[in-house]
Symmetry: C2
Subunit: 479 residues, 2 copies
């Protein structure tokens, strides 16, 4: 139970680690067929003592590819099963024909099937040692070199990196570190500046709050008031029992620690809702209606209600997120924290390289105040994994805000997406370009086109395509 | 003895590994005083399981530095004691005042005093695991970040990477991988293309041969004929005895294996002479007269002499290299192969990342024909270090010839320098510039100015300075 608590702390308490986009349910059916392939990769690209290899999975779709060195759109897989990203990145499928492009989706090591040590991959810090962004980028570089030398007609194919969220960070970093491999990158909702003190630690949760504030009168205030209501009730056994029943929890709350888990779980729910606040019915993290934050806010109009009435409304709200299908007999707070191997990997990454400072103050946001506490994170990470985070390394490696000497990266961010807080939202140079999609949530632009798409995302995609065409055109002329 | 033979094979037989520039003698006195400093560095930047640190040595000279964010010239230390590079890179000392620059010389891990595991650093492949160019570049990036945040007035100092030979490769790669850390790089005599099949494997030894051919009638032919002469003599005990005495060897030759060592040692000597064929008396690898290849060739005018007369002349020639001071009572073939820790490190690097194919055919060069034999190298490396070389990795990592998307690197090469075979000798773009110094040997441009400097190296240095000024100026405007 202590371990579980720590997981939840890592998962969503602002003072610890933010929740990465997570992938709970089965993937949607693929837009088009693809082939599943595997490449033998070094487990350690950066050292020679460990000479073992593993099988990296990747997916290929070449239906629309111009076999005379047509372009390759290369998805830089992030923290999850690559088939899920493949099926949730409709934009690539949508543009393949127009660009006569081959699609390649590369799985990130330690996720999905690409486990360096099989079932032992997460067993200890020794086995986890090769889970870093640098090793993942090296996998991508080696894979592309392999594709270019083994696929007839691909030798001079210009390759464009595409990714969303952490995958977007990887796409940007890939172009930065391996410009000889990819001619450009589309980094969607990539919070490459959510590190060190590059952005205020509270910006992320204040964007979440704004989404709720704009989506209904009384909404963010209701949520802000809910924490004290829970605190009041959880101080007595009868209150804990009432909470367990009101939230239809599969496992009843037994003590204050459990109540803290409840609050973390609720916080995470609000954050996730903000991320997937799409303009149409979708099934990204959960099956949800169009503009789900507005739907949720319909339950949260009156922040001045008594504790129990307020929390009954909060239940209605989260029930919409967890039980839109109406099939759940109870709500399981631990479900999201333990089932997905991908999450395990991300916790490790957040405990090593990906140290993203987050905080709340309860004033500019609707959450309980919590300072960024690096020391607490470090202790948790040491206890969990036997490793210490190195918060400055990612800045030394990838340059922080001083990236103007890099080129050919489009950073897209949604105005509704909390991750835009750490994103590049203003042009840096002519070839480091920011696209802001005011009505967009988390990498909306990477999703399939939809009749309900706002104008802003349509324009963003058109601009992204025009940049990709420019990069491809320029690459052609250099051969 | 078997082990020694392997070392020698690694050291200079064309089919195995070329000799890196080596540093036998004490360094010349410093041009100006410097401070010696140490920075605590992670032993493993790319993994979190090994959390130990080591002390990286670096030298600082700020006599001429403009303390209001004046530039920093940063020597990217290569395979040896950093004080030796500091004292043999007079160019940096010469330009410090003109540029109001601080000089920093950073020692490469596993060389000099910067030993991650002290005396254990070379004990096995586990301890050697962190000896890679990527780790070294990471050390440099972390060091520069540290300097900028701790030295008052250095926060916005533009930093220029400078290095020669492997250090030049590191300077170029540093700019390529960390353009947010250095605004440009001067890569002197940096054979960044001596990998894979980027250049013909025989080019290196054919340049050595040309140097000798141009330096005296009959010179390269005499050397070409010397191998058979040795082969003839070493087939009998009397011949071995004669060779031992004629070459005044400290340890007499006992068998054919020893005769092979003699030939390797001679080959290495010719290669080294070509590298240090400077226009003035110098003491780089050995104390030598001006244009030492010409001096040596004075002994090697008649290739048609009988075996013994020919080899007596060859002895005179190598004696000039090893015993210009006249102090040696005998010549020690094993000296250079075992005494220098730096060499040990380079052998490991040549057995892992730095796989530089070399070959000879005896026609386009004056050496015994020897094919490039990767498998033999791999076996030797495995026997010596328990590691296997990965020849394609350096190409995936640093881009091979496909580097046009990088910027602000000056590649200088000497026409007399065998390493120019793998160097960038033609402009790639406006900001990836090649400077060729026809009369230059190995990174002559990095040496102190000298009254006997040929015009070509004077012009090269002037051009290098003008590029550095451009980079500095441009960096100023970006703040």
């Amino acid at each position: 139970m202590l371990r579980l608590l720590l997981f939840l702390l890592l998962l969503s308490v602002p003072g610890a680690l933010p929740a990465p986009p997570r992938h709970r349910r089965g993937a949607a059916p693929p837009t088009a067929p693809y082939l599943t392939r595997y490449l033998t990769q070094q487990i350690d690209h950066f050292g020679f003592d460990e000479n073992l290899t593993f099988q990296q999975r990747y997916l290929v779709a070449d239906q629309h590819w111009n076999k005379d060195n047509g372009p390759i759109l290369f998805y830089t897989g992030n923290e999850g099963d690559i088939t899920w990203f493949c099926n949730n990145t409709g934009f690539m499928w949508d543009v393949a024909e127009e660009l006569n492009a081959m699609l390649v989706f590369a799985e990130h090591r330690y996720y999905g099937e690409s486990l360096p040590f099989g079932n032992e991959s997460f067993s200890d810090s020794k086995h986890l040692n090769y889970l870093t962004s640098e090793q993942a980028l090296a996998d991508f570089a080696v894979l592309i070199e392999y594709l270019k030398t083994t696929i007839a007609g691909a030798r001079y194919s210009p390759v464009i990196a595409i990714g969303g969220s952490y995958g977007g960070m990887l796409a940007a970093w890939f172009r930065m570190k391996y410009p000889h491999v990819v001619v450009g990158a589309l980094a969607a909702s990539a919070p490459i500046w959510q590190f060190g003190d590059l952005v205020p630690c509270g910006a992320y949760f204040s964007i979440v709050t704004n989404d709720f504030k704009k989506s209904g009168t009384g909404c963010s205030e209701s949520i802000r008031n809910s924490w004290n209501a829970i605190n009041h009730l959880s101080s007595t056994d009868a209150g804990l029992q009432w909470l367990s029943s009101a939230f239809r929890l599969c496992s009843p709350l037994k003590n204050l620690q459990d109540a803290a888990i409840l609050k973390n779980w609720l916080s995470e729910t609000w954050v996730n809702l903000a991320m997937v606040n799409y303009p149409y019915k979708a099934d990204f993290l959960q099956p949800l209606p169009a503009w789900p934050v507005q739907e949720v806010c319909k339950f949260l109009k009156d922040p001045s209600l008594s504790d129990k009435l307020l929390l009954q409304n909060v239940f209605q709200a989260v029930n919409l997120y967890y039980n839109y299908s109406g099939e759940a007999s109870c709500l399981d707070m631990s479900e999201t924290a333990t089932k997905n191997l991908g999450q395990l990997g991300w916790y490790y990454q957040a405990c090593t390289e990906m140290v993203m400072p987050m905080c709340t103050d309860g004033v500019n946001d609707m959450f309980e105040p919590q300072k960024w506490d690096f020391d607490a994170l470090s202790e948790e990470c040491y206890r969990l994994w036997g490793v210490r985070p190195r918060p400055s390394w990612v800045l030394s490696m990838y340059g922080g805000k001083n990236i103007s000497s890099y080129s050919n990266i489009v950073f897209s961010n949604g105005g509704l997406d909390p991750w835009s807080a750490g994103g590049v939202t203003q042009n840096i140079t002519d070839s480091l370009v920011a696209i802001v999609i005011p009505d967009g949530a988390h990498h909306l632009d990477l999703r399939s086109h939809n009749p309900l798409d706002p104008k802003s995302v349509q324009q963003a995609r058109a601009l992204e395509i025009s940049y990709m065409k420019q990069w491809i055109e320029k690459a052609r002329h250099s051969y």
